[in-house]
Structure formats: structure tokens, C-alpha cells
Amino acid sequence: MDQDRRGFLQDAGKFILLTGAATLAWDYVVAGAPEQAPNYIATDHWWGMIIDIDKCIGSGNCVRACKAENDVPLEDGCFRTWVERYRVDPYDLDHPHVDSPDGGYDGFPEIDKPGDGMKVFFVPKLCNQCADSPCTQVCPVGATFVSPDGVILVDKSRCLGCRYCVQACPYGCRYIDPRTHTADKCTLCYHRITKGLTTACCETCPTGARQLVDLKNPKDPVHAFIRDHKIHVLKPNLATGSKVYYNGLDGVVR
């Protein structure tokens, strides 16, 4: 074992001062990359997402990746993320036509011809990871909750399948897993983001329209992005504290 006295004293000093877990992380913190440390401290993060409408091409990559990563049933209505296509007549803004065939899993069929005069755009949707989430407040058994890093999770072993949370979510982001009859939803790929990876949908987005962000990380580009762009969240009137920030979101989107 090649350890001199100085090295031993340094290690021992660190261990006594910092205790076990922090010792492991210390080298990464000094190197300026605390997020790569092997131990993950949930309270150091506050996860959210940026979605840039102007970049979304409606390829459906995110929908397919989400289903593959998270073992989401292919059945109708089971989506953790999906893409909606809005077709708006500029002279009838109150009645947009929205379609989302299989959630956009196989892309979108051609409906409009170029020059038809319709305004068409794609809106990817997912759980908004609300800071004041309506869905967790109604769970009678504590099966769904906000994690210390701001992700809404479901504890399948406690869920009774009462569907109260499915009704409470104003964004329609929850479904009942037909195999287990428990509630299920986007976990923001909690098993990935806690290991330093990005979510499956962000990973496979061909245009970078979706970006995972950590609002507690001062180096995260999200802070500049929110300052420099006109940002909107879905249904701000409900005060859910949504952490999915849309850039270029049209007012007709519900």
C-alpha cells in the first residue's frame, strides 16, 4: 500500500471532519463536478424541464423512448409523455383542433397542405412536476409524493388504485397501469437523473427541444434560458407551481 504519512493524515482528517458519505464526494466537489459524485444528495437538486416549442418536429422519438425506458404499456391511454399537434384557424382561435394519434408514437399523419392558412405546431407534454402538486395532496395512503428533489413519484407498493390522483391532475398526466391496477406517471426518469444521466425523452430528442434542468444548480443553463426567453407554463391560473417551462407556447394551448 503506497500511502505516505501526509496522505494518511489528509484522508483521516477528511474522514473525521466530513464523515463517510461526504468524504466520497469531496474529491468531486473539489474538482468542480459535484454532480458526478457517487452519492446523490436529493436536497441539492430541484428538477424541472424546458420545452422549446419552436424546435419540436413531431418525430415522436420522446414517446417511443419513454415507453422503452420505463416499461410503459403500449395500450391506449398509457403515456408518461406524449406529443399533441395543434391546428389553429387564425380566425377561430377559441377552437383549436388537437390530435395526438397514439400519443405521437408513430409520428403524425399529414392533414394540412402547405399554404392552407392553418397555424400548426407540436406541443410535447409530460408530468409538470408541480411544486404544489394537486395530485399528491389527494392521495389517502401516501402512495404519491414530492421527493426532496422536486419529482412527483408513485410508490406502487402502497397505491390502492383509487384513481383519486388521476382525477386531481389538471394536466391529465396520470394513468392506471392495466397490469398492476396502480397509478403511474412520469418519474422524470428518476433512476437516470439521480445517476447523472438525462431523461430518456431528452436523450433521444433529435433537435434538443426538451432539456432536463436542475433549478438548484447555479451553473445550469436554465437560469439564462428563462431570463432570455418568453417562458410560460401550462395552466398558470391553477397555481400548481409547474416546473415544465415552455418557450414559444401559444395561448391556445390548454
Binding site: 419540436c56 403524425f108 401516501g142
Partner: protein, 179 residues
């Protein structure tokens, strides 16, 4: 004396019933509520680690590039004349000249964590026109910055069109040699 406590039995009986009820409640509570419930909030703390422990399917572009770091380099020219033509334009910078440089590997190849864990696991070669058109078919609503084609109108020569998109456009360097 006896008169003063003649009703004590009623009180004791009620007390016993309440006591049994309390014990039953405590036992039921102990049995039904997991020990880690309520550590962080009104939920089971262990559920956090269970959510973290799920298997990963998509390895991520960074993991791919650890071994395949030349994946986005300019393609080898097919014949000498093209080689000369290409040399005039060099040096080519993948980050600037390769339109697919920022494209994540697993957007086209399947999820590849299994391949990262065990490199013997094969990587799917994907070269179907359907895959290309998933992003590049002309569709109203796609941003103008996205290159889009109407397959029927997008022909250079019939032979090559029949052979599919990749006969002209290399997926890892989509700009054709003529462009």
C-alpha cells in the same frame, strides 16, 4: 367504604375494553405502517431508492462516444475525384459541418445500455427510409429550420432513390458528396 366503590367494576370494565382496543390499534398500526413511513414526509422513504434502482435502457450519447469517438468524422470518399473535391473544402469540422453531430445515437439505434454493459450485444444497424422520414418528411407544423422532403419529389436519379435515402446521405454525415 364498600358503598363508595361499588361502581368501580363498571369503570374497570370500560377501562379494560379501551385498553384492549388501544393495544389492538397499536399492534395493527405497527403491522400496517412500514417502519420508514414518514421519515421525509407522508410517504415511505424506501420508495425513493426503489425508484432509483430501476434498470436503465438508454445509455446516453456520452457513453457511446467513449468508444466510438470517430462516429461523426467525415466519411471516406468513394473515388479519387471526390477525394480531391473534398480535400479543397477541408478541414471539415464535425461540430460545424456535420448536421447530425448533435443527434443522439439512440435516437436511431435502439436503446443501448445492454451494449454498454456487454459489448458483444449487437447494435442494430438502422437504414430504413421510414426512420429518416420520421424526422425529414414534409409535415406542416415542423419548424422551417428542419430539412424536409417530399419523397416523390426528392429524386436525383431513379436508381439511387430506389436504393433508399442512405445511398446518397450517410446517416453519420448526411451532407452528400455533391453538396
Amino acid at each position: 367504604m364498600g358503598d363508595r366503590f361499588r361502581h368501580a367494576r363498571h369503570v374497570l370494565r370500560v377501562g379494560a375494553v379501551l385498553g384492549v382496543g388501544l393495544v389492538a390499534f397499536l399492534i395493527a398500526r405497527w403491522a400496517l405502517i412500514p417502519s420508514d413511513f414518514g421519515v421525509y414526509g407522508f410517504y415511505r422513504a424506501g420508495a425513493l431508492n426503489e425508484s432509483r434502482a430501476l434498470p436503465i435502457a438508454y445509455a446516453g450519447r456520452t457513453a457511446c462516444l467513449e468508444c466510438h469517438d470517430g462516429a461523426y468524422d467525415p466519411p471516406e470518399p468513394e473515388d479519387e475525384t471526390k477525394a480531391r473535391k473534398l480535400a479543397v473544402k477541408t478541414p471539415l469540422d464535425p461540430a460545424k459541418d456535420n448536421k447530425h453531430f448533435r443527434l443522439p445515437c439512440e435516437a436511431c439505434h435502439e436503446p443501448l445500455q445492454k451494449h454498454v454493459d456487454d459489448s458483444d450485444k449487437p447494435v442494430l444497424k438502422v437504414a430504413s427510409d421510414g426512420l429518416c422520414l420520421g424526422c425529414h418528411r414534409t409535415l406542416v407544423g415542423r419548424p422551417k429550420s428542419q430539412p424536409q422532403v417530399v419523397p416523390a419529389d426528392h429524386k436525383k436519379s431513379d436508381d439511387r432513390t430506389k436504393a433508399g435515402c442512405v445511398s446518397c446521405h450517410k446517416p453519420h454525415w448526411p451532407k452528400t458528396e455533391d453538396e
